[in-house]
């Protein structure tokens, strides 16, 4: 078993119930797509699986760990086995691509190696190989703020490819890519997971991308699981019910919103300039 959620609930500090009574299991090597309207709880579900958020109810087991019990050493080791791809890649703009990719292994490397890698990148070949798979090998030594939104998203994917985690959690991993590249990238993730026997859970905005590539589809709505079916059994009426209230049209690739990278606000500037 890769992960198992038993009646997991998540209530935020402000009282908002993001997840209610979710039960979901996955065997190692399974490839699951999460679909559902925005605000349904897809990101919350991925955050619980990724140990970023602790469930406020129920029991979450990930890679054999009972998450509700957090011991630091074992917990870190667990986290090193989980790779996350984020919709807005959490990579500092002034960092170089090679460093951003190598950062995927920080949880696995001994501290001296991570420190040394800041002075001279330890594994240039490894980073290049990961970047080649997302067609960005030429950007190896560029700085991340020189990349476009789509390129940066692919750097985030290269980081996870380099990390080689047992569980890949992807939150809208291709939202900034054009349809052709999005399809290729989703297939790349699936192929990588398949080759290593890793579990892949991806939330996707585009329904056609999910059904066309993933074997198992989980529909999420209002913090609950609406359906959990093999892709072949997902019907159009089922989808219309899932997306009811979104204007009657199903979100497909052509409707993908464009990704906008946002500059980090810097409030320290005032302080630093003055004192």
């Amino acid at each position: 078993m890769s992960f198992a959620l038993h009646g997991v609930g998540l209530t935020h500090a402000n009282g908002f119930r993001a997840l209610c009574d979710i039960s979901l299991r996955a065997a190692p090597g399974e490839r699951i797509a999460l679909i559902g309207p925005s605000g349904a709880g897809k990101t919350s579900l991925l955050s619980v699986l990724g140990t970023a958020l602790a469930p406020t109810g129920g029991l979450a087991e990930v890679l054999g760990f009972d998450q509700n019990f957090r011991s630091t050493v074992a917990f870190k080791a667990l986290r090193a086995r989980i790779g996350s791809i984020h919709q807005a890649p959490p990579i500092p703009g002034r960092q170089r691509v090679v460093t951003a990719v190598l950062a995927g292994k920080l949880g696995q490397w001994p501290a001296w190696k991570s420190l040394a890698s800041l002075i001279y990148p330890i594994d240039v070949a490894g980073a290049r190989a990961a970047l080649e798979r997302v067609d960005l090998a030429d950007k190896l030594f560029a700085r991340c703020d020189q990349l476009s939104g789509g390129q940066l998203q692919r750097v985030g994917i290269a980081r996870v490819l380099y990390q080689q985690p047992e569980l890949i959690l992807a939150d809208e991993p291709v939202s900034a890519l054009d349809p052709a590249l999005a399809l290729a990238t989703v297939r790349l993730l699936i192929a990588d997971a398949e080759a290593r026997g890793a579990t892949l859970v991806a939330s996707l905005h585009a329904v056609d991308l999910a059904i066309g590539n993933f074997s198992r589809i989980v529909g999420v709505k209002g913090g609950c699981i609406a359906f959990d079916l093999p892709a072949s059994e997902v019907t159009v009426p089922l989808l219309h019910e899932l997306y009811a209230g979104e204007g009657g049209e199903l979100p497909v690739q052509a409707h993908e919103p464009h990704f906008l990278s946002q500059a980090a606000a810097n409030g320290a500037a005032t302080r630093a300039a003055c004192c």
Binding site: R79, T99, L106, G107, L118, F141, C274, C275
Partner: protein, 518 residues
Amino acid sequence: MLLNPADRDPAARGRLIGALATLVILWPLFQAADVKPSALFDGGNLKVITNFLVGFLPPETGAEFLGYLGKATLETLAIATAGLVLAFLLAVPLAYLASGAGRETPTLNPVTRALLTILRGIPELVWALIFVRVFGLGPAAGVLALGLTYGGMLAKVYAEILESVDAAPANALRHNGAGRPLAILYGLLPQASKELASYSVYRWECAIRASVVMGFVGAGGLGQLMDQAMKMLNGGEAATILLTFMVLVFSADGLSGWLRRALDTPPAARPSPFGWRSGLVGAAIVVGSVASFRLLDIGFGALFSGEAARSIGEFVAEFFPPDLSADWLERVGKGVWETLAISVVGTLLAAVAGLLLALPRWRAPFSFLLNTLRSVPELVWATITALAVGLGPFAGSLALALHTTGVLGRLYAEALDNAPPAPGQALRVAGAPGGLAFLYGTLPGAAPQLIAYTLYRWEMNIRMAAILGFVGAGGLGQLLYFELSLFHHAQASTVIIAMLLLSIAVDQASAWLRRAMG
């Protein structure tokens, strides 16, 4: 006008009350600061200062004096550099402990934060004065004083800069199993490096000014030379020393700009992130630090020997318990009030003058004036303003105002440059005169920044106002200087505690005002 309630400006009452309250608070402060512009034009004072300023020309260029000057300049640079190295070594672990950066659940660390407040709250000159008593005259006192105060300041600002950048990269790394130190190094440092580096260089520039000032209490360097020149009313020597300050501060400024640009250069296509510039800077820092410590020849072994520890212990013990008698508290209270008055009046005068000098159309010839005002430390200005208006708080306010005008004028000019240009341009296109377009279009955009700068500067100035009294400019400093000279340590201790509390209170007031006016 008042006929129709619907037509009345709902903000008017609040504005009126605010203006009245400001007047009610400021009036007694101006009284306490003894503001009397007429003193500037008093016949006797005018003669003294004119004679002194006339003596500035020609600046002293005798070979013997230049020899002293060179040695003192090197010593000042070395004190600043060694002090900043010490401060940096202190600040990095403290900032790591105090900062919420890289923590998954934000926690404040009250013990470290309190330690930082104490380190920052006591001005470096007071530390220097105390260390001079313990370690004797010489640069060791200056270096240690700088290390402690600047360690506290650097730690606080490092912690805040790391907290202010986007936390997502560090959080993502932690979720993939990285520890907090690595998450900060890989996730936050790349975003914050430019800010951290330029703040550190800026602090080094401040340390140069501070080490000049500490010479006044016997910690060596240019300050000691300036003190002697002022006591002998030797204008020529004073002029040469002032010119040297300016050259030092301008060079530090240029260096800081170069470093900022260097950090902006995109990296070359090679594995190593370090190029010739990084190598050069790294080598310069190492060589500079080592050379500084060697030049000053501080026997750290002797400083940390058992005997030194005992004498420090005895010395510190004399400060306890502080003198809390009603008499003394009353005098300290008066000193606190006077210090507050000096800081407020100095900052306000500087804000007005700085804004006038920063106004767009006047800027070009005035930027040199601003830099000149800024490059001379407050305490040195105080020795000059004391000649111009006589000893007392007014001299302190003027000195503070002169230096702060330089700082604020520059910051204001930058803020006005960075304010969105569209509103002002639109008004000008619509036919508004330039001045009005500025008031209606440009100023509102820049105002929050201007207010923030002014209030931050006030926080700095309260610390400075507390020590201006060392050269006779009134306030708590004067009390402290007397009591320490008379070895009345219990009384001095009360004054130091008062300085600390005052600086904390002003920090709080300033933070509150920033929130209220932002």
